[in-house]
Each structure stands twice: as C-alpha cells, then as structure tokens.
Amino acid sequence: MTILRNFMRIANSFRPVQRIDNIFFLSWRTFSSHGTFDYDLAVIGGGSGGLACAKEAVNHGARVAVLDYVTPSPQGTKWGLGGTCVNVGCIPKKLMHQAALLGESIHEAISYGWEVPSPDAIKINWSALTEAVQNHIKSVNWVTRVDLRDKKIEYINGLGEFKDPHTLVATLKNGTKRELTARNIVIAVGGRPHYPDIPGALEYCISSDDIFSLGHPPGKTLVVGAGYIGLECAGFLNSLGFSATVLVRSVPLRGFDQQMALMVTNEMEERGVAFHHKCIPLSVEKLESGQLKARWQNTETGEQAEDVFDTVLMATGRYALTKALNLPAAGVTAVTGSGKIAAQTEQTDVAHVYAVGDVLEGRPELTPVAIHAGRLLARRLFADGLQHMDYENVATTVFTPLEYGCVGLSEEAALDRYGEESIEVYHAFYKPTEFFIPQRNIRNCYLKAVAERGGAQRVLGLHFVGPVAGEVIQGFAAAIKCGLTMEQLMNTVGIHPTVAEEFTRLNITKRSGKDPNPASCCS
C-alpha cells in the first residue's frame, strides 16, 4: 500500500468524524447518566502539572482530554499550549537571565585577555532577544502539541468550567461551546499575575505575562513587588542595561530565609538597582510623552514620592484561576480565601475532582512540584499507585543576577520549629576562583547549613548565594532526601576548584562567633 493510499484514508477519515461528532455527543450524554463517560480523565489546564498528569494517565491506558486556554493579559498578550512555565515563566525568565549573564561575561572576558573591540558599544538588541526567546517558546508549544497528538490525548483549546460534577463546558475562542463528561477531573489551572487596585494599573502597567514578548525595549522600569518574580525581572533588566527600581511593600523574598534575601538584594543594589523599602504604589498615570508617572507612599514615614518611567511592571503576587471554573457546580467547596484549592493529597472534597500545581493551597508554586504531583496522581488513579507527593525539602532557586539556591528549612523556620538551643548553623563567605581576575564583587558570596544541634547533626536546610546556585543545590537536595548529616557533609571531599565544594568546607558555626570570612584558597 503506497503512502498515498494510506494518506488518502487518513485525509478522508478526518472529515466524516466531524460530521458524526454531534451524534456521538448526543448519545454520550444520554448514556452518561448510566455511568459511561466521554473520558476517563479530563484535565483543565495544559501547563506543567496538567500535561504531566495527562501524559502519565495515557501511559496507563486512560482516555484523556486536556483543556487549555489563555485569557489575554490586560495588555493583550496571549500564548500557546504549555502553561506558565513554558510561555511566561521559568523558560523565558531563564533565557533572559542567561542573556544578562552573557552580557556581563563579555566585559569580564576582557580581563582574561580577550580583545573585545569597543566594549562601550556593546548593548542589547531587545527585539533580537525577544524574537529568539519567543521562537524557542513556539518550538516548545509545537512539540507539546505534537506530543499530545501522538499520545492520542484530545486537546481542546477552550476555557473550561464545570456544569455538574462530571461535566465540563469548554468555551472556544470563536464562542462555541463544547461539552464533555469525565470520570475523573483534574484542576490544573495555575494562576495569573495580580494587579493592585490603583488607578492606572490595568491600563498602563505590564506584568510578567507581557515582559518576555514586549514589543519595544522596556527602558527605565519600575518593578512593583520584591518577590522572586519582581527581583528576577529587575535583575535581568538592570543587567541588560535598562535602569530598574523596585518597590518593596514589606520585605524582599518573603517566605525565604531573610539573611539570604538580604545578600541577594545587596548584590542587586551594588549593581545599580534602586530599592524603595516599605513602599506601596499609589497610582500610575500616562504622560503626554507616553512615559508613565508612578506615585508611591512609604508606609512607615507616610512620605510620598514619584518618578517617571518607561515601563511599570507589576509583580505583586499571583492568584489562582478558580473563579472562572464555576466550582459550586461541581460541589467543590474546599477553596480558601485566596481562591486556592485546599487538597492535602490533591483530592478535593468531591472525590473524583483533584487539583495539582499552583492552584493548590500551601504548596510550593514550582513546575517540578506540579509535574511530580501530577504524575503520582495519575499513577494513583490509573495504575494502582500508592505513592503520595512529598512536598518537603523541595529545592528551588531564585535567578537574580547573583543566584540564590536553597533546599529545606530557612533559619527562621528551623528556629521556630526546633528552638535556638537545638539548632546549629554553619556558615561561610567564599571567593569563587573565577571572580578574582575580573575583580567581581565577592561580598555577597555566602552559604550556610542549618542543622540539628545534637548527634550527627541532621541537615535541615542548605542555603547558597552565588553563581550557578541552581546547579550547586540540586545534588544536595537528593542528599537531604537521604537524611544528610553535617558529619557526612564534612566528610565529603569537595571538587576543586568549584563553588559547590564550599558546602564540604563548612566548619564555622554562627554560635562560635568566629569570623566566617575565608582566609585564602586551598587551605
């Protein structure tokens, strides 16, 4: 049989199915009350968690449909299949962070002997950067779609909501609605950036949804918010040559170890990022020139200030997209005040409705967490799996210009849980070998291990500020999962010269009061 005949068969079979579609759905709906569903699993949300769950489910023979839809941002930005991480999160963020680091490397190279003609003329071409980033994202969107098709997962590009506990309605872009029933439903809708309720926010400000595809260079930027999104954005914008100012409402990186957060922001300040602490935005207005005038207030002194910027980026938190789901129709009531879903084992208060990813209350909002939880859930549903997601000791990294990687408890959390007498904190400043020649700032290169004080001193948390922090911490996350103790850590021989080896060299405790600054290399 020639390919032609095979192809003709596929091409012809494609059309008839569409015509019979309506009849199929009518008959399915009549049957569903008798317990026959269109799908074994319907996943609302085609992001990290949703897709991982769907793909794992088909591996175990389930019939799966994935609903994914991107409501345009206030500024009109949209994107394809893959969720936040792929389109407006981890991936473009890391690429822009890399672009920023490379820009710095060009200058450092000069001190290593590279002859760089006119270093002062080196500047970023914003549209070339965004084009390269968006091209990569599109390739990932495409591979994702091809993958779903190959795995025979039905992909519906529509906004899903509940009609009844087992029925979803997807509203497509052209307004048509499509109903489907499923035995199990997984809510993996994630979240979107929150905009403060101040004049000008929605009309003139952008968010992380827009920055990675911004059609013009951002220029002088005000970043409102000092969580990891705000700091990462301010960080790479500043390194790319766009002046950045950050408004901090309470503390930077709230929830993270505050000593390390201070190191991160100190480094950013030393690189030229301006911080306004204890400040909240009041208004943003557009000037005739097209620029934006932002007003803010210091909540401690009451003082108001303002300045003119080209771009104002709101990074004031994210909210879960549960409102649009019409959860009451499903009978799901386990929704917290913030809109997130409370589901300890990913199962809501309706037995066949589950949730994974950022939409979950009290869980780390990280892609690998969503993926892992989604997979384990699919195994429990379709493969008699018993394993539940372990949300403890999840490593993460903040990709600010000088990165911060950590796993386990912050010092504050450890003190809170165990008390000062039962905790030992080992710490040290260090000097990366590569920093000497270009005379890079080593003031904020610091790491610490928070451990139990007694016995072999089980490690409770590891914290590292420095280059390639993510790469450094990853291996240690596995060690902590194995119950790493300070004894084992100190008996591990380091790889030299690296920055990761500094963990094996830890020996000075905070309690001792000794100077944690390094004397010299190799001794």
Partner: protein
C-alpha cells in the same frame, strides 16, 4: 514539461490563484515554482499526484535552521524543471505533520510517485542536499 501541459489544461482562474499563492513569482509559466502547501488537498494534488518527484520541506517560522535550509532548497530546486519543492508550514498542517511523523524541524522528505523514498531530519550539509537532489532529478543512479 508535463507541468506546462497541466497548467495549460487548468482553468485560467486556477493558475492565477496559484501564481498569487507562490511566494516566488517566476518569469515564465514553464519555470518551476515552489509549492506552498496550505491544506491536505493541496498536498495530495500537488505532491502525491505529481508526475515529478517532489522534495517536501517541513518548515517552521520559529526555527532558525529552517531559515537556512529552506532558502537553500529553493535556490537549488527552482532552476530544475524535473523536480519540485513543496514547503509545508508545520503550524498550518498538523495532520501532515502527524501522518509523516515529523517530530523535529527542519525535516525533508523526498516523494516519488506517492512513495517516500528518502527522509532527512535537521539541517544537513550542502553535500547531502545536492546528493538528494541529484538522485531525485535523475542525474545520478540511486545508490
């Protein structure tokens, strides 16, 4: 040559539509034009049912290597009148992508008399491309 005869038999409106579709406007109707595949029917008519062998290039706008390979293929194939080039944009032709199991771009499939006779994935070097073209246009004996 057969293509010129085919063109004469088609309605004038059809050839006008085809001319409009073709990105490269050729000076003579006998001269080769690149086939831009927009849907399955077009693929069946112009590639599978083509008397001449066709090199099918799966292309994506967001793919850097495609931006190098596709113009190169056009440059090499357009002057030939016994070999056609068809460009399939992977975003517009999901079924074709699925049928031919294209998992990465650029992908080049050589079709002769409705059969796949060769397949390349990725940006291959100039020698491999010219080799394929020579084999397909009958200059060399198939190896």
């Amino acid at each position: 040559m057969s293509k010129a005869i085919c063109k004469g038999l088609r309605s004038p409106i059809r050839s006008l539509i085809n001319l409009r579709r073709a990105k490269t406007i050729s000076t003579s109707l006998v001269h080769n034009e690149t086939i831009l595949v927009k849907n399955n029917e077009e693929f069946v008519n112009k590639v599978m049912n083509n008397d001449k062998p066709v090199i099918v290039n799966f292309h994506a706008e967001w793919c850097e290597p495609c931006k190098i390979l596709t113009p190169k293929l056009k440059e090499l194939i357009e002057p030939l009148d016994n070999l056609d080039l068809a460009i399939v944009d992977v975003e517009d032709n999901a079924e074709l992508v699925h049928t031919f199991e294209v998992k990465a771009v650029p992908a080049v499939i050589a079709v002769k008399n409705g059969l796949i006779v060769d397949k390349f994935i990725g940006l291959v070097d100039a020698d491999m491309i010219t080799n394929l073209i020579d084999r397909m246009s009958g200059k060399k004996k198939p190896s």
